[in-house]
């Protein structure tokens, strides 16, 4: 069992014992691990059925009468299939609630496109008054959920299939605040999700190429800690955004918007191309194909940034993708937005 998914169940149990307004609705997943919550909080757990739009609307109805609903199922069935229910029944009516997804991006690699969801940040960001988190460790999920679940906004908690391997202290996890994981002076990594591990490993490897990389970790996509991002990019003038999300509408777009006032910066995006991921394989296989590994990040930086010992004045901006074994240079797209 995914450790963060288990933490989700543990957090529901822990909070549910104290907060009689916490209600959990699932679309027939995680049924077993949520039994302790169901037993400890009778009448507040619903395995509603295979009808995700109705689950979302029903949750909004529960919010209307004062409960704090948590809808939990596979990401595409909440975010994509039930998008209008999120938009109208929660957001437009200004009702608070929580969407806890698993299977976002390509976590369910072998299940194919029907079970992938790499546009969730973009879709939820398109709705006013929403919040988005991507807690990639158990301590992050527990802390962020406790801080945000009853603040009257619609909040997405995207649970990844895998954790990063960095141990954060709970006091360092503040909803809406980024975490500076490493200092540096000539390149910034802005990274979200389990790729933090790869990013830190790549940072070490890239020292040999003259790169002294600052690493900014983002667990809250919205509201975004633009202050820390701007401060870092202002210093380094070079930024690589690493995210398991489609290029369009992801964290990278927010970074571009936040830093557009800084002159002469280089921007690079390591993200999922604006295409369907059609291959099969494990999460690790997809990460390798898409470049979300230590090796992929190193190759990305050395290919597009060269050596940190011999930095020319920034002249370029590009988004790069490693996709199904293509050489990175074959799939470069100009952003054209700076």
């Amino acid at each position: 069992m995914n450790a963060i998914r288990q933490q989700f169940a543990d957090t529901m149990l822990s909070i549910g014992k104290d907060d009689p307004d916490l209600v959990v609705l699932v679309g027939d997943i995680s049924h077993g691990i949520l039994q302790p919550f169901a037993n400890a909080c009778p009448g507040r757990y619903f395995n509603v059925g295979i009808c995700e739009p109705t689950i979302v609307s029903m949750a909004a109805g529960l919010s209307k009468v004062g409960f704090h609903p948590v809808v939990h199922t596979i990401a595409p069935f909440i975010i994509e299939r039930s998008y209008e229910q999120i938009k109208l029944d929660f957001c437009y009516q200004r009702l608070g609630g929580n969407l806890v997804t698993v299977g976002a991006a390509f976590d369910y690699g072998n299940l194919g496109c029907t079970h992938h969801c790499y546009g969730d940040f973009a879709l939820v960001k398109a709705l006013p008054d929403t919040q988005i988190t991507f807690p990639a460790s158990i301590v992050e999920f527990d802390a962020l959920f406790r801080q945000a679940y009853r603040n009257d906004f619609l909040t997405l908690f995207r649970i990844p299939g895998y954790e990063h391997d960095i141990q954060f202290n709970v006091v360092d996890i503040q909803f809406g605040s980024a975490i500076k994981v490493a200092d540096g002076h000539n390149l910034t990594f802005i990274v979200t999700g389990p790729e933090l591990s790869s990013a830190l490993a790549a940072r070490d490897a890239l020292r040999a190429f003259g790169w002294d990389i600052e690493v900014v970790y983002i667990h809250t996509i919205r509201p975004l800690d633009t202050e820390m991002i701007i401060a870092s990019v202002q210093k380094t003038r070079r930024v690589l955004v690493i995210e398991e999300h489609m290029r369009s509408g992801g964290l990278g777009d927010d970074v571009i918007r936040a830093t557009r006032g800084i002159p002469d910066i280089q921007y690079l995006s390591l993200s999922i191309p604006d295409q369907f991921v059609t291959g099969y394989g494990t999460w690790e296989d997809h990460c390798r194909d898409l470049g979300f590994t230590q090796e992929g990040i190193v190759e990305c930086v050395t290919t597009y940034c060269g050596s940190g010992n011999d930095i020319e004045q920034p002249k370029w901006e590009a988004a790069v993708s490693y996709f199904h074994g293509q050489l990175p240079g074959l799939n470069v797209q100009e952003y054209g937005c700076r």
Binding site: V23, R44, G49, T54, S57, A59, S63, F67, Q85, L88
Partner: protein, 257 residues
Amino acid sequence: MNEYLRRQIVQMVMQGKDGHIPSAFSIVEILNVLYGQHLQFDSKNPDWSHRDYFILSKGHGCLALYAVLQKHGFITEEVISMFCRPGGVLGEHPDCTKVPGIEASTGSLGHGLPFAVGIAQGLRMRGMDNRVFVLVGDGECHEGTVWEAANVGTNLELGRLCVIVDWNGSGATLMPHDDLPAKWQAFGWDTTIVDGHSEKELDAAIKNIQFPVVGVPTAIIAKTVKGKGVAMLQGHGKWHHRIPNEDEFNIIMEALS
């Protein structure tokens, strides 16, 4: 048949130069009976915790709801006079963020019933005895979420939930296999057919509901006529979203006098 409320609806349309008259005309008696004889509410305190909930899921019938809300003191004549005008709060679909007494912002079909399922379940969890009524259109019953929610409502045994279906024939113009009573029965709802323009029949049907805290939810299938009350407006043609000109307005008001 209630001519007064229908005249108000037409006057709102003339002032706002927009609106769905026939869709509103088919539900006038349903709303008049609900608000006049059955719903518990306090128009001076629309959020009163013991109120019954009413959700107009077929939001484009909102003109009838506005007229009834004004009749019962939720909104003023001045508010009514600003229908679809800049600075007003009444649009072509009801908006709970703007208008006291409106429980849900609807318009896109298929949202009201699943939302009401959540409300009904939540009220029961709180130990409250409020009832929840939802008015859906027969065309709206093409939406899959209506039947998802019907299924959930039955399985949660939401006995204090009542759906009223405005069976004005709109749905059958597209899908002629339109046996709505059989469908609601098949989904486990206690189903009754009434003349949706007979306040007496509507009143009796609602009085007949037991509203058990745990039990079978109720579906009242109200046979109605789209545009009921004015021959020129009746049916499923051009009047669905048409604004009368002055001559037509006079004909309509004469028919409703």
